[in-house]
Symmetry: C2
Subunit: 254 residues, 2 copies
């Protein structure tokens, strides 16, 4: 959750900022690109909420108001940051070019999961109509190529990609949130539950109102040491989704 999404980014202004090659050589020596990189670093270290205009300006060594010509406004800055990290998704990870489509899609999922681990704050941003920037466009192209030529229609390619990314991002979100609570309280999940349990039991009145949930929670706690296993959910979910896709693809080939 970030601050002030009140005003959505102005699309036309944003496109100008996203695609412009020549920064307007300002007095202060700052460029859009540099400011965005600074903001991304800040978000990596302290989260989106730390990315305030004033704070970014301070890091850039200018006043807050000097930033506006370079970044538009806070909403536009967030979109620029999003496009920036989107463009880096397949820089460190190998491009998904394996021979078998299943390996390619697994590489896509892995790269997106890694991006969420490296930049946890992107799970806080609403994707919305994805920013039509250079980074996002390149990422989309790379990912669609992994899905191309396996017998799906164009619409199915887009829907499959959206579904796969929804699964990865959704699970990553849960993992990130759990990790934050864990870090914040400096306790493991089991410790946390032990601390919480007396208050909870007293409040619930001990009645076994949630038998299946209780049984599952105990099993998950014992086997993973955590209240939820988001990464396991991601792996299993991906595997099921790809199994389903294999059925469709092979069904058509026959």
């Amino acid at each position: 959750m970030a601050k002030r999404a009140d005003r959505p980014a102005d699309p036309l202004k944003l496109i100008g900022l996203l695609w412009r090659e020549q920064p307007p050589a300002p007095r202060s020596g700052i460029t859009t690109r540099q400011v965005v990189a600074l903001a991304v670093d800040l978000a990596d270290r302290e989260g989106v909420d730390a990315v305030t205009i004033r704070r970014v300006a301070e890091e850039a060594g200018v006043t807050a108001m000097a930033l506006y010509p370079h970044i538009g406004g806070r909403s536009e800055l967030l979109e620029l940051m999003f496009d920036h990290v989107a463009g880096q998704t397949y820089e460190r990870a190998p491009a998904p070019v394996a021979a078998h489509w299943r390996e390619r899609l697994e590489a896509v999922a892995r790269a997106n999961w890694a991006a969420c681990v490296r930049h946890p704050w992107i799970t806080d941003l609403s994707p919305g109509r994805p920013a039509p920037g250079p980074g996002t466009s390149a990422k989309y192209e790379t990912e669609l190529r992994a899905l191309d030529g396996i017998g799906l229609s164009e619409v199915e390619m887009d829907q499959t990609l959206t579904a796969l990314l929804a699964l990865v991002t959704g699970a990553a979100r849960a993992a990130v949130a759990a990790h934050r609570v864990r870090e914040h309280s400096r306790t493991s999940d089991t410790e946390w539950w032990r601390a919480i349990e007396p208050a909870l039991a007293a409040a619930m009145g001990d009645s076994d109102r949630f038998p299946v949930a209780g049984r599952v929670s105990r099993a998950v706690g014992e086997s993973t040491g955590r209240a939820n296993d988001a990464e396991g959910a991601y792996r299993l979910g991906l595997s099921l989704l790809l199994d389903g896709l294999a059925g469709v693809v092979e069904g058509r080939r026959a």
Copy 2:
């Protein structure tokens, strides 16, 4: 994206607020339950960002500071709101009790999709370690029962549910975000693209750098009239996931 997630909710304070039966009969006549219901209505109408302490207090007819004993703080209020709507997920929708597990899981997905449509702001909230409140607990129990007795281990039940909800929520998030932009600009996606295209083409320099993306975008635009079909992605993704699960379940029965 909402305001101020800086401070996470205090777990023990939160549990007290979530489970207490007897509101402390205050002078003003307001109760935690009423304030939460008011805040949910406000969020439904104007989004999470409109849910400020001052604004909610105004709606409740008290000063901002009078709210604190009832809701803890803003973070806790958001968790209370989340638990409130979680508890309503299966009130309007029929409980997932069909004979076949596939129908039960489809009902689970449908109910969660409907909740996101009714309360779009819940897609802005980080789920995190889910608030251990009465609503969330009841929802979890209902959903696990839909997965019980079909041959999965407890850990697999939890992971499957998490994956399914990640898929539904992730797709719903994209759908909500697209809907917001559409509503804000009062234009359809195709109109929006037409307005954007000249600026974009000029910026990109017409070079066909994204051939597959271009081909897919055109096809999606022609067949759905939209830039993205999040609902289609949800349907297809769910169907593939359940196909995959059917393979696992049937494989074990044999």
